[in-house]
């Protein structure tokens, strides 16, 4: 049988290490699963991306930290200590023989399937501060927790606007939160618990803000909040966050048409969560070797639709939706190209409505045309709101845009496979290496057609 030397088959190295069980996420659920597996005599790897490099925190990956970390966040040694202090079970896992790797993210999950048959076995891509590598697994437990659903409003790009999961992480896991006085948006359990947690830690909670007319969380929790003296403002929406170089200094809220200004350095978005399953989302359907545990196994849920609608009703159309790519709400709904392109009369007349003539709205299509969600945060900050805005504008359900590997931003030189098998290099061609593809047309069928030299490999498309 002829072999195409440019075929990928056989060119991937097997994973560097193989474990009976690999667990991604060393929170309570992941750590417990690791300990149980190790006690069962299995070889276990437990990875967690925390402590997250400060640069990545700055782009709100993986959580919406909103720039409210203290200088401590830039000290990895101190952060590792804080992580162990916050999760004593990690010591137990170590003692049980679990290999624990902190500061190590899982950025890609690769399995053979209908569209891929060349992998030697299922592989998980990992990276730490110095390199990337692949590990094999017998079973994979995903314990990656939940992520905040966040929304934009005028001023949301100022430091100090952050998500509740990030707030919890900075406060309890890292002890590196710079907040002194905060507002909390949302009123379900997450919001109420966040308020109580902040209160216990001596943070001044200036209020809980809810767009709906009633608090969404359980009355028992609400009673604790009220007892703590925390104000609850229902039927209230954010007009804008004002501030200076240090970020948010005050929030302007609107209730019954009246603007209220509240001083605060932090606005914590606790309007909902979604499972942090982008590793799986980018890889394809879950199979029998993969299990989800902890918060990432829960459906999540949010009040984002209501918040998005209320904000869009009063925020100017120039409000930024995608911070990375500077896309405004008007640009998004108008399906306009980025500002660095000229907007012809024809394109200015295009919109979501005209696009809809050809078929239902697809979030990935809008993403590519407007660039909302195409930036360094990999769409984490804007995807929910983009979906809400597109759904409202089109009158149809619209899912958030999809994820792609690497599901964490990884520097080229770290992601790079510096030890790739020799076959990868010998089989490498710019394109397909089909010699006849590049024969200049005039020489096809002439004596020169098979002249040596050109028309071989490495020709450009």
């Amino acid at each position: 049988m002829t072999v195409d030397i440019h075929d990928l088959t056989g060119k991937f190295a097997p994973p560097e290490t193989r474990y009976d069980i690999v667990i991604v996420g060393a929170g309570a659920a992941g750590t417990a699963a690791a300990i149980a597996a190790a006690h069962g005599g299995l070889g276990v790897l437990l990875v967690d991306e925390n402590p997250v490099p400060p640069g990545m925190m700055g782009t709100d990956v993986p959580l919406y930290y909103g720039g409210r970390m203290t200088a401590a966040a830039a000290n990895p040694g101190r952060m590792v200590e804080a992580i162990f202090a916050a999760n004593p079970q990690l010591e137990v896992a170590f003692d049980a023989g679990v290999e624990v790797l902190l500061g190590t993210c899982a950025w890609g999950l690769y399995r053979n399937g209908p569209a891929m048959k060349t992998l030697p076995e299922p592989m998980l891509g990992l990276a730490d501060a110095t390199r990337a590598w692949m590990v094999g697994y017998g079973a994979l437990i995903v314990a990656t927790g939940a992520r905040d659903v966040v929304l934009g409003f005028p001023g949301w790009d100022r430091p100090g606007v952050m998500g509740a999961q990030a707030f919890h992480a900075l406060l309890t896991r890292y002890a590196a939160l710079a907040t002194r006085r905060m507002l909390i948006f949302g009123s379900d359990s997450l919001a109420l618990e966040t308020a109580l947690l902040a209160h216990r830690h001596g943070i001044d909670v200036a209020g809980i803000v809810e767009v709906a007319d009633a608090v969404r969380g359980p009355s028992g929790l609400l009673a604790h909040v009220t007892t703590a003296g925390i104000a609850v403002l229902t039927g209230t929406v954010i007009v804008r966050a004002d501030g200076g170089i240090d970020g948010v200094e005050r929030a302007v809220l609107r209730r019954d048409g009246v603007d209220i200004t509240i001083d605060c350095d932090t606005i914590c978005l606790a309007i909902g969560t979604e499972p942090a399953t982008e590793l799986l989302d980018a890889s394809g359907p879950v199979d029998a070797t993969i299990r989800l545990v902890g918060d990432c196994a829960l459906p999540g849920g949010s009040a984002a639709a209501g918040w998005s609608r209320a904000i869009a009703a009063i925020a100017p159309p120039e409000t930024i939706v995608c911070q990375c790519e500077d896309v405004t709400r008007a640009d998004l709904i108008g399906v306009q190209p980025p500002r660095y392109l000229d907007r012809s009369v024809a394109i200015a007349a295009r919109s979501l409505a005209t696009l809809g003539h050809d078929g239902p709205v697809d979030p990935d299509q809008i993403k590519r045309l407007t660039r909302a969600g195409m930036g360094a945060c990999q769409g984490r900050r804007c995807r929910t709101q983009v979906a809400c805005l597109l759904a409202d504008a089109s009158g149809t359900a619209v899912a958030p845009a999809t994820y792609r590997a690497p599901v964490r931003p990884i520097p080229l030189k770290l992601l790079a496979d510096w030890d790739e098998p020799a076959a990868m290099a010998t089989g490498w061609d710019v394109w397909f290496g089909i010699p006849t593809q590049w024969t200049p047309y005039d020489t096809i069928g002439t004596a020169d057609e098979h002249a040596p030299g050109l028309g071989g490999g490495n020709m450009h498309v």
């Binding site: 002829t2 569209a115 024809a346 050809d358 078929g359 690497p406 520097p411 790739e420 397909f432 096809i444």
Partner: protein, 377 residues
């Protein structure tokens, strides 16, 4: 959504870049055209490729080069087309190979300048002294694939053309040896002529009406970084990679081994990408050492259609015009659409000899041509 069209003078199957450009050219001639696609415009190879547009080997090359600089104006919508290309190398043998490619192009009347290491570093600030030199193509260029595809679609609308997405062609209805309509789950669209530009799965439509259309599918992958400072010429590649710096600054590159995946009438499943992205990242880091710290933020995979000799098929059989560009169809699209328009309307291409791209060359093709080439899925 618009009403389902009962008929069109010409129905184009496939809203990839080939089908859309053909439809736009037909509409420019005042022809009533309907384009249908099983998915969204440009959702297969056409919206996820390298964006390169410098195909000296093609008989459509001159037309490609003539049209691209005018496309934004002709379409009325942006393509992000940028002129010229630079190819740099770190390997002496590859550098010599590209110098030879440059000489061929120069001999054809398209100027290529050799760059030594210092000149290459001056023009490509992201590289360093490891770059041995390169070539500077004073022609060619690159554009944004998804934006270009959408621009064709919108320009077609403006001329009265219709596009129906999420509407697979399930068969071609014939009577008296001619195609009289295209069948879809939503009904038949009657037509006087059909253009099949359905990419790698076109044979599923054509074989039942007796046209053997040999094409097979493979997966190709690309990575993209966060933005780097803009280089004066963004169309820089080399070191085993094709690709470009986008106008936003992102570095988007592909290359390397592919996987033959075969197709079904529903199309091939190309996603997701593979760990090949690590070998791509390595080569981008080598090519652009001064950008090696940039984050990779996405990767993707696309399906590439290949004919047995890697050359396009542009032909007309009765009232059926068939078209595939065999893996280099993005850049050639302004010209391929023109050629297809000519085939449909006049029966022959008006601006180039494309006789050698016809189906006749496959008359003696062995049924196991994929296996013979090691291309079986």
């Amino acid at each position: 959504m618009s009403e389902f069209p009962a008929s069109g003078s010409v129905v184009v199957v496939g809203a990839g870049v080939t089908g859309l450009s053909a439809a736009w050219w037909l509409a420019r001639s005042g022809i009533d055209v309907v384009v249908i696609d099983k998915g969204i415009v440009g959702w297969e190879a056409s919206g996820r490729n390298g964006g390169g547009a410098s195909h000296y080997q093609s008989p459509l090359f001159a037309e490609e080069q003539r049209l691209w600089p005018q496309m934004d104006e002709l379409l009325g919508y942006p393509t992000e087309y940028q002129r010229e290309r630079i190819i740099i190398q770190r390997d002496p043998a590859l550098l010599e190979h590209y110098r030879a490619v440059g000489r061929i192009c120069t001999a054809m009347g398209y100027r290529v300048d050799d760059l030594d290491s210092a000149q290459a570093q001056a023009m490509v600030p992201l590289t360093d002294g490891t770059c041995l030199g390169g070539i500077h193509l004073r022609f060619g260029g690159h554009a944004n694939p998804q934006r270009t595809v959408q621009s064709y679609a919108w320009a077609l609308h403006d001329l009265g053309g219709r596009i129906v997405q999420h509407c697979p062609a399930t068969g071609l209805a014939t009577a008296g040896g001619r195609v009289i309509g295209v069948d879809t789950p939503r009904g038949r669209i009657a037509c006087d002529a059909v253009v099949v530009a359905a990419g790698p799965q076109a044979n599923a439509l054509l074989a039942p009406i007796g046209i053997d259309f040999p094409v097979t599918a493979a997966r190709a992958e690309m990575i993209v970084t966060e933005p780097a400072p803009l280089m004066a010429i963004g169309g820089v590649d080399g070191n085993g990679l094709y690709g470009r710096q986008t106008l936003r600054g992102n570095l988007a590159f592909g290359g390397g081994p592919h996987e033959w995946i075969g197709t079904t009438p529903d199309g091939a499943a190309a996603r997701p990408a593979s760990p090949l992205i690590r070998s791509l990242a390595r080569r981008v880091a080598e090519m652009f050492p001064r950008a090696a710290h940039l984050n990779v933020i996405r990767s993707w995979a696309g399906i590439v259609e290949n004919t047995p000799d890697g050359r396009p098929i542009l032909d007309r059989v009765g009232n059926v015009t068939v078209a595939t560009m065999s893996g280099v169809g993005f850049g050639l699209s302004p010209a391929s659409g023109h050629a297809i328009r000519d085939l449909v309307v006049d029966g022959a291409c008006s601006f180039a000899d494309i006789a050698k791209l016809g189906l006749a060359r496959f008359a003696t093709l062995e049924p196991d041509w994929r296996e013979q080439r090691g291309w079986a899925a």
